[in-house]
């Protein structure tokens, strides 16, 4: 019985299949292939809303604004998962179904492939007329002619290469369609293509599994380091921290990163950033400290993790004394840049005063100030003429309630702005190195200097090497599967008139999918070998139709 060929889906010209073959063929193609195709189209369609509608994972504020704006549609779309498409149940269902279909399809194909590799190739069809055969008279004997064609078709070069690129061949002695005895060679090629196809699809499964494993084993955190400051890798040290279900905090390596300098370069004329580099010192447990560098596209590598330079800004450092003359606050405070010229805002909280109310300051920093007072603006991102405006508050900072507070905003519910004689809020204006007296003898404030800070994003994802590996194998598999040819070549030579060795009539035919340009060349080469002629070198020009 003819066996099922993996690759004869839509080409009608293929050798006939038996009943079991047909059933299998129907099972494999009508169910899996069509289902796979339709699932792929649905997957493409389902992904599109994720680019059109605001998505929770991208921007909480945009998404919330969208819901608020569209009273009816907003909550409905949210409920249906359209505002988190790639985490929604239906999107997950589609790709899981697709992968179920893929696995259900690929496993039997691996088995079939394995069996096929070890079985002999099917015999040549008894009539070659359907395959546009070419015929030529060879000076060789039938046995020699077929043997020459065979060695041409089995391929060249060392063993694995020959096996991969050549044909699998069988030769039968049989009775031809005209009743005369003949030698019939059947050569099949396509096992490399099918191998590539299987590798490709299996790699897709590998990619999916790696992504899943990665999300369980990953951790990620954000930390901000001021120039001169350092950071120790521990959960408490992060500003934000999140980890996959299977990652244990005990696995964090306690290395220390010290930021020596953040170098920011801007184009002189436009102020556009040209480069950011964080120069740092990394001390790993049990090792000598080493100098490291992070740039936007070049993370620092630490044992299993990567540290990305994600942002930067200014962290002005202050010394504040209270009415008693004691130092109530000393340190650098990160300000958040608000625009391209690094106009930055931040707050200073002074809870530890010896006597009286707590103090708070809302600050605006202009790195290169131009203009006076309220009209001043910054014209360049570098600190060429830094000026700071601080608005002062007194009262209760609200730090004692145990509610975690945002370090970048003041909770003004129990604070009131300090006012001058004209009942205007007091705004302190100062430059680096300057000390100002606080109103009403509340103390002094000194702006010491203006270091920069670097915002780092830290991430460990042990699945990355696996992902990369599967990506590479899938690409190789894909290329092989699309470009390795799939061909059948058949050679027949009648043996009846073997006595007349100088006149063997060799017939060669080939089958291949219509897009295969090289098939005719393969046929002509087999014929040339059988007729003891030199190998034709290139593809003959095609006729038009």
């Amino acid at each position: 019985m003819a066996r099922v060929k993996i690759d004869n889906y839509a080409y009608r010209d293929m050798p006939r299949l038996g009943l079991r073959g047909w059933l299998r063929w129907i099972w494999r193609q009508v169910t899996s292939m069509r289902v796979a195709l339709i699932l792929l189209l649905i997957l493409a369609l389902a992904a599109i809303p994720g680019s059109v509608l605001p998505q929770w994972p991208h921007s909480v504020s945009d998404t919330q604004a969208f819901i608020d704006e569209h009273e009816f549609w907003g909550p409905l779309l949210d409920r249906l998962g359209f505002l988190d498409v790639f985490g929604s149940a239906w999107f997950t269902a589609i790709y899981l179904l697709l992968f179920a279909s893929l696995i259900g399809c690929i496993i039997p194909r691996v088995a079939v492939y394995w069996r096929e590799l070890r079985a002999e190739v099917p015999a040549a069809p008894s009539r070659l007329d359907r395959y546009a055969p070419v015929t030529e008279t060879s000076p060789l004997s039938p046995a020699d002619a077929v043997a020459a064609a065979r060695s041409e078709l089995t391929g060249r070069g060392p063993a694995p290469w020959r096996w991969l690129t050549g044909h699998r061949v069988r030769v039968d002695e049989r009775t031809g369609p005209d009743g005369a005895p003949q030698l019939a060679l059947s050569a099949h090629r396509g096992h490399l293509r099918e191998l590539g196809n299987l590798v490709f699809h299996l790699s897709l499964v590998g990619i999916l599994l790696s992504v899943a494993a990665g999300s369980l084993l990953t951790y990620r955190g954000q930390a901000l380091i001021v120039e001169g400051g350092s950071f120790t890798n521990a959960v408490v040290a992060y500003d934000t921290y999140s980890a996959g279900a299977l990652f244990s905090e005990d696995d964090l390596d306690p290395w220390i990163l010290t930021l020596d300098e953040l170098d920011a370069q801007f184009e002189e004329s436009t102020g556009r950033p040209t480069s950011f580099t964080a120069y740092a010192t990394l001390t790993e447990p049990g090792q000598e400290p080493r100098e490291v560098e992070a740039q936007v596209n070049r993370p620092i590598q630490v044992e299993g993790a990567k540290i990305y330079l994600q942002g930067n800004g200014y962290a002005p450092s202050f010394t504040i004394t209270d009415s008693e003359g004691n130092v109530a606050f000393e340190g650098a405070v990160p300000f958040i840049p608000q625009d391209d010229v690094y106009t930055s805002t931040g707050v200073v909280k002074v809870p530890d005063v010896t006597e009286g109310e707590q103090m708070g300051f809302k600050g605006t920093l202009l790195p290169s100030a131009l203009g006076e007072g309220a009209d001043a603006i910054s014209i360049f991102p570098d600190a060429e003429n830094p000026v700071m405006y601080l608005q002062m508050y007194t009262g209760d900072l609200g730090l004692d309630e145990g509610v975690p507070q945002n370090v970048y905003t003041l909770d003004e519910s129990q604070l009131s702005p300090v006012r001058d004689e004209d009942d205007e809020p007091v705004v302190l204006e100062l430059t680096p190195g300057e000390t100002v007296e606080l109103p009403d003898g509340m103390g002094t404030l000194t702006w010491n200097d203006l270091p920069r800070y670097a915002a780092f994003d830290l991430r460990r994802d042990p699945s990355l090497p696996w992902l990369l590996g599967f990506a590479v194998t899938s690409l190789l598999g894909l290329g092989t599967s699309l470009f390795a040819p799939r061909r059948r070549v058949w050679v027949t030579a009648p043996t009846a008139d073997a006595a007349d060795a100088a006149a063997t009539v060799v017939t060669v035919a080939v089958w291949s999918p219509p897009h295969d340009q090289g098939a005719t060349l393969e046929r002509d080469r087999a014929l040339a070998a059988a007729c003891d002629r030199p190998r034709p070198a290139s593809i003959p020009p095609e006729d038009d139709e």
Binding site: Y9, A10, Q29, V30, M33, R34, A36, L37, L40, L41, L43, A44, A47, I48, G50, S51, V52, Q55, P57, H58, V85, F86, R220, E267, T270, R272, P273, T274, S275, F276, Q295, V296, N297, R298, P299, K306, Y308, Q310, D457, R459, L464, L467, L468, A471, S474, L475, L478, G479, L482, F483, P513, P514, H515, Q517, P541, E542, D543, D544, E545
Partner: protein, 341 residues
Amino acid sequence: MTAQSLSWLALWGATALYAIAMVASSMHLAKVADAKVAAKKQRSLVAAGSQDATAGESAASPASAFRRADVHSKARGIARSTMIMGALLQGVGVVARGIEAGHVPWSTMYEYTITGTWVAVVVFLVVQSRRDVSYLAPGVTGFATLGLGLAMTVLYNASTGLMPALQSFWLVIHVSIAIIATGILTVGAIATVLQLMRDYRDEPLSAVPTGGLRRLRVRWRNANVRILKGWNWLEGVPSPARLEALAFRLHAVGFVLWTFTVMAGAVWAEHAWGRYWGWDPKEVWSFVIWVIYAAYLHARTTQGWAGRRSAVVALIGFVALIMNFTVVNLVFQGLHTYSGT
């Protein structure tokens, strides 16, 4: 002359040359169509046993001997030379832009367009040097004229430095392969459009049924088939089967390159943003495009989908490719929005 004005002049020159090439290659295609119809007629005369002297002459050559390469016309020479000169000029324009900008010329929409259309023309010329695919020339030059014209008039912006996120080896790899893939898939889409047009042209008109909606559909279809039957130049393009084979080869190469583009993009994102995939609009669309072309490859080998339906899937993929480059760049917000300005 500055690099900027050199680039500007060269690109306008290329646009004009492509426009000429488009007209000339269309005229040549019409001539090929006529010659082919004439050859067919003669063959059938011979087959009918006519002993007419001229027919006897042509019968000496085998029945399948019609070769488009044998059809000579002035238009063919003009089309060929204007196209090659256009490609050379455009090459100068693209390189000059790169020199002017001080980085690879594919970091804004304008640069992407001038480089992408150039790649499409070069892909065509490379294929053309191996086998005669001059029937694709009107489509390719038309696309290039339109793309370049739009780039010069609407998308043009003065070059600027690169923002830090774009200064990477991966920009060069990721984007250059994306552009090459786009160029190849464009030529593939043109072949696919011709395939569908040829295919429907060869169809008989269907009888109009009485049912309401189906009636409309059949009418619409018949109207289109009738238009296609009126376009005799379509005789000049190869059979649908041949066009599909060519389109497949182009799509296969384009798909592998697109796969690489997506992967290189993920590597780059990993380096720059600390995550390899974030479903940013650009990433969503790259994924959608990839999935549609994967569906096309499956459709080709699925019964009932091979041929026309898979061709339609490929064209949907191409529409998504163009969307990714236009609408997604201009409308949607995301980390990739560098491309607009």
